[in-house]
Symmetry: none
Subunit: 365 residues, 2 copies
Amino acid sequence: MDERVREHAAVLVDWSARVEAGENVVLSVGPDAHELAVAVAEELGSRGANLLATYSSGEITRAYLRAHDGDFDGNPAHELALLENADVYLSLGGGRNTSATADVPGEQRQAYNNARREIREARLGTRWVSTVHPTRSLAQQANMAYEEYQDFAYDAILRDWESLAEEMAQLKTLLDDSDEVRLVSDGTDLTMRIDDRTAVNSAASVAYDSHNLPSGEVFTAPAGTEGTVTFDVPMTLRGESVRNVRLEFDAGEVVDYGADQGEAVISDILETDEGARRLGELGIGMNRGIDRYTDNILFDEKMGDTVHLALGRAYDACLPDGESGNDSAVHVDLITDVSKDSQLEIDGTVVQRNGTFRFESGFDG
Amino acid sequence: MDERVREHAAVLVDWSARVEAGENVVLSVGPDAHELAVAVAEELGSRGANLLATYSSGEITRAYLRAHDGDFDGNPAHELALLENADVYLSLGGGRNTSATADVPGEQRQAYNNARREIREARLGTRWVSTVHPTRSLAQQANMAYEEYQDFAYDAILRDWESLAEEMAQLKTLLDDSDEVRLVSDGTDLTMRIDDRTAVNSAASVAYDSHNLPSGEVFTAPAGTEGTVTFDVPMTLRGESVRNVRLEFDAGEVVDYGADQGEAVISDILETDEGARRLGELGIGMNRGIDRYTDNILFDEKMGDTVHLALGRAYDACLPDGESGNDSAVHVDLITDVSKDSQLEIDGTVVQRNGTFRFESGFDG
């Protein structure tokens, strides 16, 4: 076994999920994430945690959803009980075909998701962490050779997380102390309110309210969005290529949209529910171990010199106690490059210009 | 997809497990059983059942057990809750190496199993069915080419189960109505009492108290065994080759034994506990789709023209209500060929000669 697989498992169990003896862990394994699952099982065994492995396959989901009449039972009791009794949920992504569910009708997917809100809540109620095992399928999606992709993925995953957390804390402080964010770039001039919001220093650990490995972003839950934004980072959504999505907001809601490619997917997403037309997240990428787009949201949205916005569900961690933010069955991230001709303003002060933060050397105030 | 995979899935869901709309199904998937899992997911979707897939991998079990200190938590709540809320449990065996857990110490395995009694009971409390997907690893164990093994496995699995169940019912009736069975063959003359016992018509369906696919045997729980038996079907037991085991019984208990190969394994088994020296099962193979031994008990013991006896634990289904049969920590099946120079007598009447039953054409009374 590649020693980096063992290091990945150790970071996941130790830094990210903080697993302790006696805890009940659900390990969700993708079909090609087997090797990482073996390494994680070893970590869990050595810590005396209790392991149950589930199998997460796009091909199984596709077969099930296409055959079902669409009248899904709400929150099946066996799956709900499993998650309600779990302390930790570790998702090891890694399929054999990133388009495995491409021909599942959108309404079928939506009906399935809508029937599973309590299950989703129960999973989000655990100390959950999502990561991926670098597979040939992900390498292909990234237009990279397999070993090249492994190097890329482990550069992103095996960071000095403690030191990155300290760097990101500076941006979190700026956001926590202010009321409004403005993003200006080519095709973008967007204003969002962040009064009373708390930014998350997403340092790839549940100890930081951060649930992705790799991570490396600072995010918050915006409100009252006004203006236009263009997402120029190409990506695949629900099996479809999506390019240059443009959204126009008024009073927090999408009032117009378009795309050079994949407009139908955006339309499907916006139609999910009322919350799908509002933003649930503003995220600022700060992981400079990620040096290119690979059409994988887990990596792309964390990349330095990018900003992303998500349609749909907001994270509770960003909201005042007892207040619930935007609610939706979806959470779909879209990304824009801010390395050129861009600026990010917080309460009128430019804090990032062309990708460089004001607390970094080379910042051009 | 090979059409036989779909047929296998349909038989499993429909005939074997009798899955209905709204039922909660746990689908346990071996690493190389993916294709069958996809076909089963389609069947479950079309029936409106609720699917949760778990991942069953010898390599994960090995890594976990070898890393653990051996002081296992009893019945982890998340796994217990999953099974207690399941209606159906479908196990799709199919690993990449039948020796994947060969270097896990026996005491570690036993400590793990002992800590999971309630989980096991909960699983046995569902409508559970075990089957296997024909894999390269199983083909190798059977000394067969892959496609040759697929043909073999589907011949065994894709029977006309309804018609076989009717045929087997005739043997069940004969056994239920009588007191004594005598088996005579080369190296064998054995008498067993079956007063008050109920035979199981094991027709690969929970509707028949039968939990294996393939199945195709009629079995009961014998007592008061007298005489000698020779098991001439070669097999691997606990990783050791075993050939021509001979057991001599007096008043139901093994009083002498020998073997051409693997005598030490037989000795180990007999020493387990008191119940290990008594028979827990007499089974009569009636699946003529199985035409050769493949060193896999799921198939071998069901083969037509064979009889098997198990040392150890008896099944409750064969016993009068409230009576408990032979108890033991083991249940080890041993098989004898009855295709030649053999006869099976029930209360003094020959019911099978050289593999042919008296209710079949060609029977030589």
